[in-house]
């Protein structure tokens, strides 16, 4: 777990952060503090946070503490990183089955900075979905089985 990045524990806190973050990218990392992959991504996020100060706000969320959001965002694998801009969820075409969130850890700090920059520029142009700037080999692979409900 990272001691540098702020944590959100309740649904109200998450609501407030999503609603009040203005004109910068909001990054929410859903995961667990004791998970090894989460520790890796937290380290990358913590290192990038000061550099992205004017472009992004980064928060950590414990996936077990907010079942409402875990269910809404359909989080099954952790860490899952979601991006918002002015209370609007931003989608990214990662080349994986799920465009709504980034699952797994970034390869390095620069990858994360690139992603945030692409989302920021896209959002400023009014785009709700952007294409991932990452090398496909740097995006973790996973399988999801979807079912209608």
């Amino acid at each position: 777990m990272s001691f540098i990045l702020p944590k959100l524990a309740t649904k109200k806190e998450i609501d407030d952060v999503i609603r009040t973050t203005e004109d910068i990218v909001l990054v929410l990392r859903f995961g667990r503090d004791d998970d090894t992959t989460c520790l890796r991504i937290d380290d990358i996020l913590a290192k990038a946070a000061p550099e992205l100060g004017k472009m992004a706000a980064i928060y950590l969320v414990d996936v077990d503490s907010v079942p409402v959001y875990a269910q809404y965002f359909d989080i099954s694998l952790i860490p899952a990183t979601l991006f918002f801009f002015n209370a609007q969820h931003m989608k990214v075409d990662w080349g994986t089955p799920d465009h709504t969130k980034f699952i797994g850890t970034f390869h390095n700090k620069q990858d994360f900075i690139d992603v945030v920059e692409v989302i920021f520029r896209g959002a400023m142009k009014g785009k709700l979905m952007v294409r991932s700037p990452l090398d496909p080999t740097h995006v973790p692979k996973y399988d999801l089985v979807y079912k209608d409900f």
Binding site: T37, T100, G104, P140, Y142, D148, F149
Partner: protein, 330 residues
């Protein structure tokens, strides 16, 4: 010393004392060649539309001009006719004029250029007459096309207004008929107009469970990734894949106790006031005055020392060195 008569050469744009020999000088020859080459290109361009006149919408075009070296004048290239622009028509008219033909002959003779080249710089009267006839036809064709385009636009507008009228009619009947009927009517309206964005079923109803059915993950696997306990989907609440309202935007969880979302009326007034003030000159009188600041009871408005003490010319006495002592002694 003999008096030397200087002459001005318009082609070389300089004065010379060589008399008639000047036209044989290398500089003058090269200038003449350059002019002829340039003008030939221009004439070739206008000759292209001679057989097939081009008519365009005048509103989109700016008028362009060309310099006639033979007549020493600037002429228009295109001709404006009502709301139409006839490409190169004015230039063709100029090239076919008798005045231009005369000037062309004298220019070629003056600068010792072959007379045979005259054909390249003028347009014969017969050709011009044919061009006029062709122009009339193409103008008619253009007007027909324009009318057709207007008809298409009018039809589109008529169709859209019909659909909107029908929608309003549906809405008014909503009170009488059930909501399901309204949705059906809306769907038929949206089907009628395929160009419009399809109407969401959620838009007309307040029922939150009316979003489109989505998908949810039932199984997930990733190398090095932890799979959290997949929650059982509650069919009454959707998720990000269905078009469900997000938790942060749901009415029962709005954080402000007042239930007001977004800026208040006061904020709007403040914004309007600020944006109005921003347009005013920064150096205006009293620009930095703080209206909200509390003032003491003895405060009086500043009159800028014109009427408060003395007349303006006498106002400077206070700053003159010999008066400073007097004032301080008082």
């Amino acid at each position: 010393m003999a008096f030397v008569q200087f002459q001005r050469c318009d082609i070389c744009r300089r004065n010379h004392d060589s008399g008639n020999k000047h036209v044989y000088s290398a500089a003058h020859r090269s200038n003449v060649q350059r002019i002829i080459r340039k003008f030939k290109d221009k004439v070739a361009e206008s000759r292209q539309v001679l057989g097939k006149p081009v008519v365009e919408d005048a509103t989109k075009q700016d008028m362009s001009h060309f310099w006639c070296y033979f007549c020493h004048c600037e002429c228009e290239r295109d001709k404006r006719l009502h709301n139409m622009l006839l490409k190169e028509a004015a230039m063709i008219e100029h090239l076919s004029s008798l005045e231009h033909q005369k000037n062309c002959t004298s220019f070629l003779a003056q600068n010792r250029v072959e007379k045979a080249k005259k054909e390249e710089f003028v347009i014969e009267t017969d050709e011009y007459k044919k061009f006029l006839e062709a122009t009339e036809k193409s103008v008619e064709r253009f007007e027909e096309m324009k009318q057709q385009r207007q008809l298409v636009v009018a039809n589109k507008i008529r169709k859209e207004s019909f659909i909107s009228e029908r929608l309003v009619h549906c809405y008014r009947e909503m009170v009488g008929c059930g909501k399901s009927q309204l949705v059906k009517l809306l769907q038929t309206c949206s089907q009628a107009n395929n160009h419009q964005r399809p109407l969401m079923s959620r838009a007309g109803t307040s029922n939150e469970s009316s979003w489109v059915k989505g998908v949810r993950t039932v199984e997930a696997h990733g190398e090095g990734l932890t799979c959290v306990r997949i929650q059982k989907a509650n069919s009454s609440t959707g998720n990000i894949f269905s078009d469900a309202p997000p938790p942060w935007a749901q009415s029962n969880t709005t954080c402000p106790a007042t239930g007001v979302i977004g800026p208040t009326l006061d904020d709007l007034h403040k914004h309007v006031e600020n944006s109005r003030k921003r347009k005013l000159p920064a150096e205006r009188v009293g620009a930095n005055f703080k209206h909200s600041q509390q003032q003491s009871s003895s405060w009086l408005p500043s009159f800028g020392r014109v009427w408060s003490k003395k007349r303006n010319p006498q106002g400077s006495y206070r700053y003159l060195p010999h008066n400073i002592i007097k004032v301080s002694h008082k």
